[in-house]
Amino acid sequence: MSEAKTLYDKLWDSHIVDEQDDGTCLIYIDRHLVHEVTSPQAFEGMRNEGRKVRRPDLTLAVADHNVPTTDRSLGIEDEESRIQIEALEKNCADFGIELYSMDDIRQGICHVVGPEQGFTLPGTTLVCGDSHTATHGAFGSMSFGIGTSEVEHCLATQTLLLRKCRNMRVTVNGDLPLGITAKDLILAVIGKIGTAGGTGAAIEFAGDAFNSLTMEGRMTVCNMTIEAGARVGLFAPDEKTFEYLKGRPKSPKAGAWEMAVEYWKTLKTDDGAVFDEEVVMEASEIKPQVTWGTSPEDVTSIDGQVPNPADEPDVNRRNKMERSLEYMGLEAGTPMKDIKINTTFIGSCTNSRIEDLRAAAAVAEGRKVADGVRALVVPGSGLIKELAEKEGLDKIFIEAGFEWREAGCSMCLAMNADKLAPGERAASTSNRNFEGRQGPGGRTHLVNPAMAAAAAIAGHLTDVRDLD
């Protein structure tokens, strides 16, 4: 009888090509997503060494970080952005890699596109030169972000040299209270374990609250695993996973599909498997979450207040809090609901899927964005945009005063023209509230999509459950 294994153990063990004496393993990579920002130097390295891409058929490219979200027929105004996107096009053509170009309806944020196309599958290893690659763990795929040297290594060898992570499980018991979303769950987890709490770990999410989530919700949770320091976040695949993937363009076809599902059903943690660390929380205690500082761990509930650094005993943490409050322009003790905003961003690989847009539209319907607030809705992909338009969500947003944009990363990291001006304050559905993340001097409060829409309408952070 073999030892009881975690889901992560199974995924790891099934991809070992070679193990060195010191425990470093050569791990086979089944899927590789490539985007324009972290790949040019890797392709340059390949060219300099005269190397070929080992498995172009397992590699998929899409431009997302730099693309304009306004009228694409006008081209890209920013020269550097244009050069980077043109470099991706040339590299994909030269090395034989499939690319969804900017005017392809399938274009979008790579972590939205992968699952949408059935490129992301349970039981696979999937990498991308982007930390939010953890997203794909929602499907029971061992997926993680890598740097450009590793992008090059993967292009050349279809493998990576890795050390195994420790096993960590986060369980949230109980039913999700009304109005509490996947975003609130993961922000609450980050608030509890901290932004380094998962460093060196692969986190499996378990318990009724997590299991009840849709695939979109699971992707939101796994997406932000990296904000807790963990490169890998995982859900065991189940009927919802199979239902989501069935019939997608790159999913296994009839015949192979049944075989694949049989295998995927074995991808769960065995009874009796031991985790190095367990965290357990109760869903009933989680309220809508909102960040106050400049790290995702700086989070409280919407009925909370800006904390007081004087209450923090650790000097390094106290200094960081003081710095954060100064950057954010906030006074300790201010009720979160009193914080005025002038921008709302609904989008990013965390919250730009159809379910997110529906939730925001349900709040926006029949209401108006407050005076002086700029509100952007940026769908995660061209296909999501198309579906939302079929459902009439675009009209709801536009009538309420939101801007309806083309797909891309947009204001999540402000590499394109969508950014906060210094001192501007946003309610954002993205994943990072770092200093300058959404534009130099910009101030970010992370929230779920319905809360972001509610803030746009109220003109300040507010509890969506209280909206008239």
Binding site: E44, R54, H65, G147, L161, R231, P252, R432, G436, R437
Partner: protein, 200 residues
Amino acid sequence: MDKFDKLTSVAAPLPLINVDTDMIIPARFLKTIKRTGLGADLFSTLRFNEDGSEREDFVFNKPAYKDAEILVTGENFGCGSSREHAPWALFDFGIKCVIAPSFADIFHNNSFKNGILLIKLPQEDVDKLMEDAKRGANATVSIDLEAQEIKGPDGGTIKFEVDQFKKHCLLNGLDDIELTMKKNDKIDDFEGRQNAAQPW
């Protein structure tokens, strides 16, 4: 990749926790298609005023630290994005070694692949080195990777742990890809087995 064996330098103190990759190199500087030249924008927001002038209070703008090759900083350094532009910017600026109580995972990998040694030490050792570093040009720190030792300005020695494979690669300036390509047969075998078992 450049070899790393011994290093003696002034150490720059940056007593901040959770220094994220957006702070090390903001996203607006990621539009380059080169690995070099990013040092000019390292810690851009901390280093420069809005008009482009230097902020006098920032450590790298103080004369004593302009040539520092070692950075001493707080826990969870390098958290956030996977951008290898962060270690590229550090290296391009001249930083060859970062000492902290902990590092984020992806940044950790990226740094070693670019010849930067990251040394994880207990908080009290980092606190001591931070105090030494604050003494500026009079306090140089020496690092011996082979011996896994740091010598402080007052002669005290601190031993450190390092992943042995990463150490081997740093000491010899080895390129991972070349090493892995020697295992092509094993990769072929794996692909063969996997294609048979999982034909989808």
